[in-house]
Assembly symmetry: C2
Homo-oligomer: 475 residues x 2
């Protein structure tokens, strides 16, 4: 079945003209130090060989592929270049859990794109989004494409692909009326139409990560709060949208505890203030309007005028990132350009699909009390043929032949009790089960079952192929 | 191309009824401690996670698969069971070298077999050997199947699959007239027909690994040696076949240096003697005749009467091992049997193919000064179609269609200089190159090239398919 997932990926990567390769999982410490990611990432699994040389198990391969590119590609004529692999990745998870959803070792497809200009890189980005759309559409499971922050991957243009699921650990916000979808880090809300100046404000004072600057965050005092009330620093996350503070470029350290803060603040050399948009005065020095208050379900959509935001738990199964020159710059991945004397850094993108997580997510989304249930495109087989005892294998072969053109399997294991085969077929989750049982013996008809569509009916042999094909079209 | 190797493997594993799975590369220290392999293996790459739990990067998966079997399989009715995977393996090589031939990280196919009796396990072993024969035959590269010692894998029945190559690091011995092939560890020689008692003997005295027993090894004094000469302990490997000593069950520590030995020997509590067969007297207590002298090219074959042995350097690319109960015993992999009250341990085999090493070995064996050269079955494509400049892509498509049924690719990259395409095709090593160039322009013929068979000829379009198919049949 992993093969089916890989084939699905290969098909859509090939539509992008991407070439498949296979990079080493063990990578050198030195390479990661060049991009500054070695010390920063606490989730790296590190190891030493018998010579005490430092290695790590790669969680992702930007460094490796960019170094390879730098060594082998010289000219813009060799671009665009798109390289991908499907393989194991490693991460020292703080809380490994939920089986395939979050594990130390996981399977991932990672595509890296190289273009000679920013504009070309954006065109590539659009093509990748298009290929991802086609790929996820084939699974026929609803998914969300959320605007996302690229976090420590660098770059700015970024989207995440999610399945809504109560087992998910991400929060995805979306508008009920327009197409706006965004993850927790970048979601915004529209200011209420009839905006009244807030009567008073609430101020949280924190400190910058370098401990040099005191940071005052001004937000409107919630109506529900009594005038004398002043929530402690530790409660800041309940009142202030810390992602928005970070996105505003303020380097506040939210991990500092209130007690420590009391000793740090008097030593700060300067103070910076940041105001919520509702508090901004015309004479304010602050240039841009920040929306610093917490976003709640029901808030207005920032993109359309009428919609309200809602939030759902989701499992992230893919992402697309425009990296820009985040890796090509430090690793000197350069190409000649027709109109320039000096070689120029290339513009990159990286685009992942969590293959093992996708398998786990689909399993949990589509399974019911009878077992697993796979989308047609990734099922081990599309159709399983099960014979009741007393029906000869020749009949099985006849049905197998009648279903020519579908990806089918005949369960001809020498197991006497056919009920066991029925149970296995359900547990494994073949999209369609064709059963030769009572109906066959009585009237020469074949039972066609599809748990996902709630179908269970007897069909004559001459319409079997047509019935099965029609059902498969919906799966 | 890795896909082609995997497909070749999948095909032959499927002929054995083997199911494909995918085990974790990171495995727990505790599991390996249960079989006693954790401390013994100095080539393990070890790592700790953030909780300081001990893990290792699996060099092979006997422990994992046996533990999985023990947890999931209960009855002989579920046997024979054959499970395999193709994936990354890890080894902290003392001397990583020669690219894909010996690296810390490598790709391997490992098949594990489970049977309910010793006899069934031997039948499985034969079937695996048969599948390996079919698989290696498809590559159409001469290979050697050597009798082998299973070393620290346990068990006794074992064969290695080698390509003869000057780059190899193994020595494979074979008889020029019968089918005898054996590796360095198990090769034997026949005693000369006219055996005369040696005039005098040479004795090397070593110490057992537990330092308790002095070990005297008696071999005939070589004719070429002067009577007074007595080679030092350090030279033992030039006179004594240490593999034969080990195979005789003598636990001698050959890594002890002469100086250390002088201080250890006086403290030994007892002495054991082992005699070469030529020195064995009728009244000797030693039961079996050991052949302890060095084997040299030209020595008589132990299996036939007429042949002489020769030795060649070789690259090991596969092995088959009968494991017996080496892993099923400590990990308690048990099944019910129809005639027994208690569940019994299963009998296992493990059978590897070094995929990345196979790729490296084939590359080095078949490459010439013009580039790589792949066997048909594993080449990225069987045929590449290259057009000289000035010939339209439509013609390329026409040729592509004419070669229907072969695995072909049309090089339609927008590169103006067709010589670059020609060079690429050679470097990549497509078995057959179809060129539309001068002959096409002059007389409407197509040039067919096959470097490996030394073919370069112009053929008319209507015999192209036939010509190409005939050549492919030899590759």
């Amino acid at each position: 079945m992993q093969n089916k997932f890989e084939a699905l990926i290969d098909k859509h990567m090939s539509s992008l003209g991407a070439s498949k390769l296979s990079l080493s999982s063990i990578t050198s410490e030195a390479l990661w130090q060049q991009t500054g990611r070695y010390s920063a990432d606490s989730e790296l699994l590190r190891l030493k060989d018998r010579r005490e040389s430092g290695f790590l198990l790669a969680p992702t391969h930007e460094e490796e592929i960019t170094a390879l590119f730098a060594a082998l590609v010289y000219s813009y004529k060799q671009l665009p270049l798109r390289l991908y692999q499907t393989g194991r990745k490693y991460r020292d998870e703080k809380r490994p859990r939920q089986g395939l959803l979050r594990a130390k070792e996981f399977m991932m497809k990672d595509l890296y794109t190289f273009d000679s200009s920013h504009d070309d890189a954006l065109k590539t980005y659009d093509q990748v989004r298009h290929a991802y759309k086609n790929l996820f559409d084939e699974l026929k499971i609803p998914y969300l494409v959320a605007d996302a922050d690229s976090g420590n991957m660098g770059g700015k243009l970024s989207h995440e692909y999610h399945f809504a699921s109560s087992k998910g650990e991400d929060n995805v916000w979306s508008c009920e009326s327009c197409g706006y979808v965004a993850n927790e880090e970048v979601v915004e809300k529209k200011a209420p139409g009839t905006q009244t100046s807030p009567t008073s404000s609430l101020v949280f004072t924190g400190i910058s990560k370098d401990r040099e600057t005191a940071i005052e965050i001004h937000i409107p005092r919630p109506d529900s709060m009594s005038p004398g009330e002043s929530p402690s620093w530790d409660k800041i996350a309940s009142y202030v949208n810390l992602h928005a503070v970070k996105n505003a470029g303020v380097d506040i350290d939210t991990s500092v505890e209130a007690a420590t803060l009391t000793t740090l603040l008097p030593k700060a050399k300067s103070t910076v203030s940041i105001f919520d948009r509702s508090l901004q005065r015309a004479d304010s020095e602050a240039q841009s309007a920040h929306d610093l208050t917490i976003i709640r379900p029901g808030d207005l959509c920032p993109r359309c005028d009428t919609g309200h935001l809602s939030v759902q738990k989701a499992i992230e199964v893919g992402h697309t990132f425009h990296l820009g020159t985040r890796y090509s710059e430090p690793l000197q991945a350069l190409v000649t350009l027709p109109d320039q004397k000096e070689r120029q850094v290339v513009h990159m993108g990286c685009h992942g699909i969590g293959v093992s997580r996708l398998i786990g997510a689909i399993a949990s989304l589509l399974a019911d009390e009878s077992g697993l249930n796979w989308p047609r495109v990734v099922a081990p087989f599309e159709v399983v043929i099960t014979l009741h005892s007393g029906i000869s294998d020749d009949v099985g072969t006849q049905i197998y032949d009648a279903l020519e053109g579908t990806d089918r399997v005949l369960d001809d294991r020498p197991i006497k009790d056919s009920r066991l085969k029925m149970v296995d077929a359900q547990w494994i989750g073949f999209p369609i089960q064709v059963v030769l049982g009572v109906a066959w013996k009585k009237k020469g008809e074949v039972e066609v079952r599809c748990r996902r569509l709630g179908v269970k009916k007897d069909v004559p042999l001459d319409t079997l192929h047509e019935e099965v094909t029609a059902l498969l079209g919906q799966l």
